[in-house]
């Protein structure tokens, strides 16, 4: 395993938020590995812990109330957890950078977009202000905005353009690992198509590794190589696109697929997952999904184990201890 060129190696991440009233268990024993140049989709619903995972990698979880613990957190071979503030600052934006969900609030309204891109270049690249500004203009053109607009303020751009600026900032120092947190959720579909298309091209050009956080399985199918499905702060299924989409193993993943309207078969009835996401301050015993799972048995109230299905495909569901157990979707 050690020969793999990993840009991210994360073992047993636990994040909790301790308040006077309750302790919220946001992330519970999450493992993730990402090979250089690959893109992984982190899929799940609101409150699954997708964004908290991303913030932990950047050490941006506020403490208190946040408590981040893990066995290993290495980005680009550097141990993030023990890093001092100086090293952290030089890592953020250079080794790892993040595209935030809402471009309307991610930009500073009182600086021009050029200044905001140049700031990151100036801090990391050991260059003069002029060189940084020049680079900012190049970055704008790279994301499809005319360079002469570098002197304009965020409010002069539309939503899709602002998101392009945010992407330009994130990519300005050619990070090894890019985290995109729902980068197109706030955009219209045709603009989303433009932005996804651009991200795909840039990724090919720079060989950037990508963590794509999204709730949209369609976007994952489009730009990722691997998928990790999250539920209640842990990854319940992980594998290549082929593994997770065509050989689905976890009942929750199946539930997600069944909830989506099928564009090719409009008469198909939607099968929602019954019930609601569990309260993270009061998670169910054992498998957190068992109260909503149509396949649940008594045994699901016990702690679950990671099971390897193939070289690339992993699932956390102990029903597979039974040799003939399978979920409905699998038969397809």
């Amino acid at each position: 395993m050690s020969e793999k060129d990993l840009v991210l190696d994360l073992k047993n991440l636990n994040v909790k938020f301790v308040t006077e009233d309750a302790t919220v268990y946001a992330i519970n024993g999450l493992n993730m590995e990402l090979e250089r140049g690959k893109a992984i989709g982190l899929v799940g619903e609101t409150g699954a812990g997708k964004t908290t995972t991303a913030l932990s990698l950047l050490r941006l979880v506020q403490s208190p109330p946040g408590v981040v613990e893990c066995d290993k957190m290495e980005i680009n071979g550097k141990d993030v957890l023990t890093m001092g503030i100086k090293d952290l600052e030089s890592m953020r934006g250079k080794d790892i950078s993040m595209i935030f969900q809402d471009p309307m609030t991610a930009l500073n309204p009182v600086f021009t977009v050029g200044e905001q891109i140049a700031e990151s270049v100036f801090l990391h690249e050991n260059c003069t202000k002029e060189e940084a500004n020049q680079r900012a203009i190049e970055m704008l053109e790279l994301v499809g905005i005319p360079g002469e607009r570098a002197g304009e303020y965020p409010h002069q751009f539309s939503g899709g353009m602002k998101q392009r600026v945010v992407i330009a900032i994130a990519l300005a120092c050619h990070p090894q690992l890019l985290i995109a947190d729902e980068p197109t959720t706030a955009l219209d579909v045709t603009i989303q198509a433009q932005v996804l298309d651009m991200m795909k091209n840039l990724r090919e050009q720079y060989q950037t590794s990508l963590i794509m956080i999204t709730h949209d399985l369609g976007i994952v199918a489009e730009i990722c190589d691997e998928v990790a499905v999250m539920y209640a702060g842990t990854v319940v299924e992980k594998g290549t696109l082929e593994d997770v989409f065509n050989h689905t193993k976890h009942p929750y993943t199946e539930g997600l697929f069944n909830s989506l309207p099928n564009i090719n078969d409009r008469k198909a009835k939607l099968t929602p997952i019954k019930g609601l996401m569990p309260d993270p301050s009061n998670l169910p015993e054992g498998c957190a999904f068992h109260p909503r799972c149509p396949y649940a048995t008594e045994a699901c109230k016990q702690p679950q184990h990671l099971r390897q299905i193939s070289d690339t495909h992993y699932v956390v569901c102990d029903r597979y201890n039974e040799p003939d157990f399978h979920i409905e979707r699998e038969e397809k």
Binding site: V189, I191, A193, H215, G218, L241, S259, P261, R266, A268
Partner: protein, 317 residues
């Protein structure tokens, strides 16, 4: 003869702004049959929500007719309108901001009943509220809770119960599932479908989500900058989109299947300004097929039974 519940003719809403006249809804016409759903699709700023609100006269139209069950809603006076609105209701997009945070679930649902003085006693109102809560799948124990105690899916159920309170015949659903997670979204879509089957409701379903609208609607109208550019039965629209904008829109949907490599049409630029639009095809500046002909406004023409398109280049592209 089809049983038409709503006919909208040349509905127009212009807003005066400092920079000129904003054409939010620009001559929209369609009919809705009883018990059916019309999907109104388009991107931000295309005028779909304004169309919905103008039909209910929550926004006064600039021109046009809205004929609901034989009467032109736009000609009614205030008390007649109040009476007519019992049959026409609206479900809002955002279940977080469309519910009064200082009222309990039962008070919110009871409000239309009280406003229209349907029942005489408190007991009758409470009984009706309980019945409505059961209809939309809200547990009786939530009777005295406040909206902030509930998740988005349950809040949207409150909004639906409130819309159903007056036993309407027609409901405009303005992005009712956009703010919800997929598993909850499917619950709400199924609920709306069941209600339609039980009560013979007619819906206008406003959304930007094409896979949802395809699942939900009988007919779909695609809007762009205040105009309907294409209208057809859902299956026909998805199988044979004709307008270049519809084609681009449909090709832009990310499909959660691998190996399905479709040709994606990327349209250039972004939606142009609705303020004082020139008299050319509204899509002219972004269209990959634009030519000189497109410098005049195209009319909707029927190219197949039920399939309408507003484009000068039908048959050429």
């Amino acid at each position: 003869m089809a049983d038409v519940i709503l006919e909208v003719k040349n509905l127009t809403k212009h807003f005066k702004t400092k920079r000129g006249l904003l054409h939010a809804v620009d001559g929209v016409s369609f009919t809705l049959e009883r018990g059916k759903t019309l999907g109104l699709v388009g991107e931000s700023g295309c005028g779909k929500s304004t169309t919905g609100r103008t039909i209910l006269r929550l926004i006064e139209p600039t021109a046009g007719e809205t004929i609901f069950e034989g009467t032109d809603v736009n000609k009614l006076n205030a008390s007649q309108l109040r009476h007519a609105r019992k049959d026409m209701q609206l479900i809002f997009q955002d279940p977080y901001s469309s519910l009064d945070p200082r009222k309990t679930v039962s008070q919110i649902i009871a409000e239309p009943l009280q406003a229209n003085k349907i029942f005489k006693t408190k007991e009758e109102i409470e009984a009706r509220v309980e019945e409505l809560m059961a209809t939309v799948g809200l547990a009786p124990r939530l009777f005295n809770t406040y909206p902030h105690e509930l998740d988005g899916g349950r809040r949207q159920r409150i909004g639906i119960a409130r819309a159903l309170a007056m036993d309407p015949k027609f409901i405009i659903c303005d992005e009712p599932v956009s703010a919800l997670d997929v598993s909850i979204q499917a619950q709400i879509l199924n609920l709306l479908k069941e209600l339609q089957e039980e009560r013979g409701l007619s819906y206008i379903f406003i959304t930007h989500d094409l896979s949802v609208v395809n699942h939900f609607s009988d007919d779909i109208a695609v809007m762009y900058l205040g105009k309907i550019v294409e209208k057809a039965p859902s299956e026909e629209l998805f199988a044979n989109p004709v307008h270049p904008y519809t084609q681009a829109l449909l090709s832009a949907i990310p499909v959660p299947e691998i190996g399905e490599k479709r040709e994606r049409i990327i349209i250039k630029g972004e939606i142009t300004s609705p303020i004082n639009p020139p008299d050319e095809c509204r899509f002219y500046k972004r269209c990959n097929y634009a030519c000189d002909k497109c410098k005049s406004l195209p009319e909707l023409q029927e190219i197949k039974p039920g399939h309408f398109v507003a484009c000068h280049r039908i048959g050429e592209i």
